[in-house]
Amino acid sequence: MQMAVENPEPLLEVTGLSVEFRTERGWTKVLDDVGFSLGRGRTLALVGESGSGKTVTSLAVMGLLPPRGSRLVGSVRLDGRELVGMPESKLIETRGRDIGMIFQEPRRSLNPAFTVGEQIAEVVRRHDGLSRKDAWSRAVEMLDAVQIPEAARRARHYPHEFSGGMCQRVMLAGALVCRPQLLIADEPTTALDVTVQARMLKLMNDLQADSDLSILFITHDLAVVSEMADDVAVMYAGQLVEQAPIDELLVRPQHPYTAGLLASSPDVQGTVERMRHIPGSVPAVGNWPSGCRFHPRCEYARGGQCDSDPAVLLQVGRGRLSRCLRTSELTLQGVQT
């Protein structure tokens, strides 16, 4: 695994990020003091279930939260520049040039009325000021780089003429066309079939190899995380609950929620009489339990401690954090190897 030797500063550094949304009942906190850093050429996976705050985190990093309906505190530094509070015009520039994004439903993010070549060329024209002709050849080059066969011909096709997997490649081409330093991928393969997913994940890994592209990979799927991530941040109920290098997290999780997620992954279960699961359900946003937010579902929760004392994020090893009051007493089971 290569390290960015020449530049030890992380590319992306998020600290103390909290977000509130305006609701009928006033301001509701959806993200609570989230922080992490992402090194150059590395992939950090944000893992969580619905309502955990992983997508809000990615939107906050990109500055895409609605200005009227939300408020945000904290800091998001990209390559040493603070993005929080940056004027919108500069933010727009940064977003296209330094940050690329792909989402779960590529077809919804593409304009059905323009050819895919035009849409990618538009990005370079806008951010790099290329001529129409140069921008077009750049778009074709990029479609070729994401391994769309006959890129020059396919560039003249419309989104509906592509399959879901090919649309996601088109999105990736558009996201990387300005050679950004950071790619944010929010559940990019969730809607794809398994064979298409495997090819897409490999493509992303290949494009990252030998480059210093950093990827913030957002997903609920720990199997996909295993294939993609260097480091993992697990989120629950708007907070970060565990952070670790991928293999350490898989083999020896430190937070009971992570251990529960691992145990309930279908491919870890094998053939069993009954499936292991976490009781209860994910709490609704803003309706978070007191104390440790996971305590009502936690088999290790201790009354008088876990239900009252707020759990803080503790350093539990090199590059490892866990938000569990009992973390030092527990030995949790990970994936058997």
Binding site: R138, G164, L207, A209, H220, I246, D267, V268, M275, V335
Partner: protein, 303 residues
């Protein structure tokens, strides 16, 4: 588990043979069909009581269509479907009603399959009214029982679908399916929309109900890992055909058909040491010479 149960002799619960269905994809100026999509081509399988048949395949493989054909939600072009020995396709209106009582279906999106303007008690009670003519207090008692069985409180009957989480709604859909005391439930991606930690709860409920009532399941899913741990037998579908059939674990450990091999190799695996090794389905790790790279910006292109 996965041992054939010899106590279950007699006609199979479900016997499907040579099932065919094609849809018209284009018509000419005069409304005559000019092209067809063969969604299901000669599918055959059988299922015993108390067993689960998993149907896996990718988008467009025809797995959901098979589920719909078995229940005659879509009429097949040809083939036969027998439920406990009775020919489902030959039965008229009354036969169809009996079929719907014995065979139920649950879907991926439980919110979409429940009427948002009806309290869930009414939704669950509807089959009781239709099939048994149960009303009033007797219906309410049965609804309460059913909700209790799927792990909800009877008084929740007065609430509307939007007041429940996804996992609870899927329990409600299961309660409604159970209302007619069916022998067979077709489960079409029943947990695909649920959080991972909640998926297993719903699957455990299905397992318990199976053990209790000898229910047979046809379990349709795109998630191969899930089917592996849940189904006794598995049918792999591709382009409308069953390309491989066998006991779940065996089929996944030792796939015979090239398509199954491709599918199995593509399954992402939760475990250490996977990073940058990549699934075999996508080919071996690329050598630096053939690896795709983002092309550098052209001369004078960067600012």
């Amino acid at each position: 588990m996965n041992q054939p149960d010899d106590a279950l002799a007699g006609p199979p619960l479900l016997e499907v043979a040579g099932l065919q269905k094609s849809f018209v994809t284009r018509r000419n100026l005069f409304g005559r069909p000019v092209s067809h999509e063969h969604a299901v081509r000669g599918v055959s399988f059988s299922l015993q009581r108390g067993r689960t048949l998993g149907i896996v395949g990718e988008t467009g493989a025809g797995k959901s269509t098979v589920g719909r054909l078995v229940l005659r939600l879509t009429e097949p072009d040809s083939g036969s479907v027998r439920l406990l020995g009775e020919d489902v396709l030959a039965s008229g209106q009354r036969g169809l009603r009996r079929l719907r009582r014995r065979a139920q279906m649950i879907f991926q999106d439980p919110f979409a399959s429940l009427d948002p303007r009806m309290v869930i008690g009414t939704s669950v009670g509807e089959p009781l009214l239709l099939h048994e003519g149960l009303r009033g207090a007797r219906q309410a008692d049965r609804v309460g029982e059913l909700l209790g069985r799927v792990g909800l409180r009877p008084e929740m009957a007065d609430r509307y679908p939007h007041e429940f989480s996804g996992g609870q709604l899927q329990r409600i859909a299961i309660a409604r399916a159970l209302a007619t005391n069916p022998d067979l439930i077709i489960c079409d991606e029943p947990v695909a929309a649920l959080d991972v930690s909640v998926q297993a709860q719903v699957l455990n409920l299905l397992l318990d109900l199976q053990a209790e009532r000898g229910l047979g399941y046809v379990f349709i899913s795109h998630d191969l890992s899930l089917v592996r741990s849940f189904a006794h037998e598995v049918a792999v579908m591709n382009h409308g055909e069953v390309v491989e059939f066998g006991p779940g674990a065996e089929l996944f450990d030792n796939p015979q058909h090239p398509y199954t091999q491709e599918l199995v190799a593509a399954i992402p695996v939760t475990g250490p040491g996977r990073r940058r090794t990549n699934a075999a389905a996508a080919g071996p790790p690329s050598s630096p010479a053939t690896r795709p790279v983002v092309p550098p910006l052209l001369e004078g292109q960067s600012t």
